[in-house]
């Protein structure tokens, strides 16, 4: 983990990166991390676009706004005056926009749709869909305003899961077998100029569990094999190790002092007359002690497992950032907390 840095002389880990691709196994919270990273990158007056490409409207839910159209919408204000915009990239719309831009063919759109050509190009033709999705993200990275400056300081992509990420991003080889010439081919080449370069970092979100960690390791290897720029690893939903090291060992071995526990519960005013206060005698102090001991043992077991997986992650030698487990789930205010944590750890 990068050390917390002073805001004035901040040296963030991904200086020069303008496209942050966020992937991760399903269920690890990559959409949450993408949203938090966008907020973190926008902190201090920057303008950031976060895009989703899988049509699930996950960003709208996280930012608590109506479903996103195929147009940039401002969804949040970051600390220090920054702005976060969001966009749900729809491959059909991207194709029609593309046809219009290059061939002035938008009028033909509905005819093409009727014939199944749009369906073909966006869902069935190999790689075309991915070229359209990544192409739109690339366009946002490159987009310049009238003043000649980039419209967005950074673009964050909530990308497909780790198992598909290398293939998704490596549009070059994906269309290579089919489109050997033509504009899709040139578009793929243009996308690779951004995605395969130092302008891009592909971050992987994981939990400290076996399968997500294994997929992260596989994902790093695949990205490296495809010569795609691997970014950091974000460890999401980390448990606080609440017990001391000595107590963890005791908890796992069942050696916790239950008498002291019962005594403390009374001292804290939780139990009175041998029963849990408010339970009308239905829950005895022994019930509470037993439950706390079991829960403590499971917690210690979990922390030990997380430690093993953390060691596995260290073997990947990637900058690693940690985000806590939120028992109440993620809402807009906790998103700002997560952004602050990423900011402090130097990810943005």
């Amino acid at each position: 983990m990068a050390a917390a840095k002073d805001d004035d002389v901040r040296d963030v880990d991904w200086d020069g990166v303008r496209l942050h691709v966020v992937s991760g196994k399903g269920g690890t919270g990559k959409t949450t991390v993408a949203a938090a990273l966008a907020l973190a990158l926008a902190t201090g007056g920057k303008k950031v676009l976060v895009v989703e490409v899988e049509g699930r409207q996950g960003l709208a839910q996280i930012f608590d706004v109506p479903p996103l159209p195929y147009a940039d919408r401002k969804v949040a204000v970051a600390p220090g005056g920054g702005e976060v915009y969001a966009l749900a990239i729809d491959p059909e719309e991207a194709l029609l926009e593309y046809l219009e831009m290059f061939y002035n063919l938008r009028v033909a759109g509905s005819a093409l749709r009727k014939m199944g050509a749009i369906d073909f190009a966006t869902t069935i033709a190999p790689g075309v869909r991915d070229v359209l999705l990544t192409g739109k993200a690339k366009e946002a990275v490159r987009r310049k305003g009238k003043d000649g400056k980039h419209v967005y300081d950074a673009v964050v992509m909530d990308a497909p899961p780790t198992g598909r990420i290398a293939r998704f991003l490596n549009v070059n080889s994906e269309v290579a077998g089919l489109a050997r010439t033509g504009p899709i081919r040139s578009q793929a080449d243009a996308v690779m100029e951004v995605i395969g370069s130092r302008l891009t970092a592909v971050h992987l979100v994981t939990l400290l569990e076996e399968m997500p960690v294994q997929e992260t390791a596989d994902g790093v290897a695949e990205l490296q094999a495809a010569k795609l720029p691997v970014g950091g690893v974000v460890v999401n939903q980390m448990r606080r190790p609440l017990l001391s090291a000595a107590d963890q060992t005791k908890a796992r071995k069942g050696h916790l002092d239950t008498e002291a526990l019962a005594h403390d519960l009374a001292a804290a005013g939780l139990v009175k007359g041998g029963a849990l206060v408010g339970s009308h005698g239905a829950v005895t102090v022994d019930d509470v002690v037993r439950a706390l001991v079991v829960e403590g043992a499971e917690h210690a077991e979990r922390v030990a497992l997380e430690q093993r997986e953390r060691d596995n992650l260290e073997g990947l030698h990637r900058p690693t950032y940690e985000l806590p487990f939120l028992p109440d789930g993620v809402d807009l205010s906790s998103l700002y907390e997560l952004a602050e944590l990423l900011h402090r750890q130097g990810m943005a």
Binding site: M115, L178, D247, L256, E295, L305, P327
Partner: protein, 388 residues
């Protein structure tokens, strides 16, 4: 207060053993969005059914490495293999789907050797069979159909349990095959494949200006080689397959058969339950037999009466009093986190069951460690069957 011990107090409970023991059930399909534990649940159901005397084959899509090893899924020949270590008189075979291979075998089974070789060498076919959106779902369905047919013809198995591909949406499993099927079988591909022929006939001639336009667009977009590849591909498969769409329709109908049951799998998280909700609605709309919902990773406590806020407040009091209560304070904090998680999960589960009032639910507690072997699968199976 005993009702508070279950995370879904008002839901009906799903009797897993009754489902697995029902000889009239021959196919169990496990569906849900990615990351909810579909593969583990499918394997646990299959093992439990086998150990209750059924002859089971389980089709997994993408199992975790150690789980795959414990199921003996080390030989990747796209064929079911017996799982060692299963107790009782039943049996369990397991396989992992090889999408490309299933497609190749499908071609080889339906064409003479020469034509099959031509098809398999075609670049369009190669993209189609390895990376098209929907191919994995199509092949999972195809393999399910094969296993079911074989289980009848050869009397090898009396129950097929299938895991489904890790799609963004659980609905993809139902929709992708037909989407791909109707595309392969559809007008568009035929027109692409035979532009010259289309120009010669009445209606087609009338529309040929339109065809010319979009074949022109596609040529410009993809390059001319792509269309040539597609034309060769369609010409070689045209007369062979009896229609991709028909094939997809047949498997789809199999899923509506009275001996099929769907088990929808979710974690008690907002996104996973939303996907599960869509899927349940869809099953109902298409008259597909839903067995119930499996809710994985449910947080548990034996003292739900000790609320999160009370535990946290007590921990705080102990922490302020610096006379060595730190262990108790920490244990209370652990409970406070757990109770808060449980409250959130219960709210989410309640919202789901208040919309789907008749759905039966089985829960699996959050486990401290990963499921990597048969004992782990047995523990999941026991939890699934432990209905109140």
């Amino acid at each position: 207060m005993s009702f508070a011990r279950e995370v879904v107090p008002r839901a009906l409970s799903l009797d897993i053993d009754a489902l697995l023991d029902d000889r009239g059930v021959r196919v169990v399909v496990c569906c849900g969005s990615g990351g909810v534990g579909k593969t583990t649940t499918a394997a646990a159901l299959a093992l439990r059914a086998a150990e209750r005397g059924r002859r089971v084959v389980v089709l997994t899509i993408d199992p975790a490495r150690r789980l795959a090893q414990s199921l003996g899924l080390t030989e990747l020949d796209n064929e079911p293999r017996p799982v060692a270590g299963v107790d009782g008189t039943g049996s369990l075979d397991a396989m992992m789907l090889d999408m490309k291979r299933t497609f190749d075998e499908f071609v080889e089974a339906n064409a003479d050797a020469e034509r099959a070789a031509t098809i398999i060498a075609n670049p369009f076919y190669q993209s189609l069979s390895s990376s098209f959106a929907g191919t994995q779902e199509y092949m999972a369905m195809e393999k399910l159909g094969q296993l079911r047919n074989r289980s009848e013809a050869e009397d090898l198995w009396d129950l097929v349990v299938v895991d489904t591909p890790p799609s963004r949406s659980a609905l993809d499993f139902l929709d992708a095959p037909r989407r791909l099927g109707s595309f392969l079988d559809g007008r568009f591909l035929r027109i692409l494949a035979a532009p010259a022929k289309a120009g010669g006939r009445g209606l087609a001639r009338m529309m040929s200006a339109g065809f010319g336009m979009f074949t022109g667009v596609l040529n410009r977009l993809l390059g001319a080689q792509v269309l040539t590849d597609i034309q060769i591909f369609v010409a070689s498969v045209d007369t062979l397959f009896g229609g991709f769409r028909q094939r997809a329709d047949e498997t789809y109908q199999m899923l509506q058969a009275p001996d099929t049951r769907f088990v929808v799998i979710a974690a008690p998280e907002r996104d996973a339950l939303r996907e599960a909700s869509y899927f349940v609605d869809r099953l109902e709309a298409d008259s597909m037999p839903l067995a119930g919902l499996v809710l994985n990773r449910v947080q548990q406590t034996t003292v739900p009466e000790l609320a999160s806020s009370a535990a946290a407040a007590a921990a705080e009091r102990l922490e302020q009093d610096a006379s060595g209560h730190s262990t108790t304070a920490a244990l209370l904090r652990i409970h406070a986190d757990r109770a808060a998680t449980l409250d959130r999960q219960r709210r989410l589960a309640d919202r789901f069951t208040s919309v789907h009032k008749t759905i039966e639910v089985a829960t699996v507690p959050a486990m401290a460690s990963d499921v990597v072997d048969l004992d782990g699968l047995r523990a999941v199976g026991t939890a699934l069957a432990d209905h109140v």
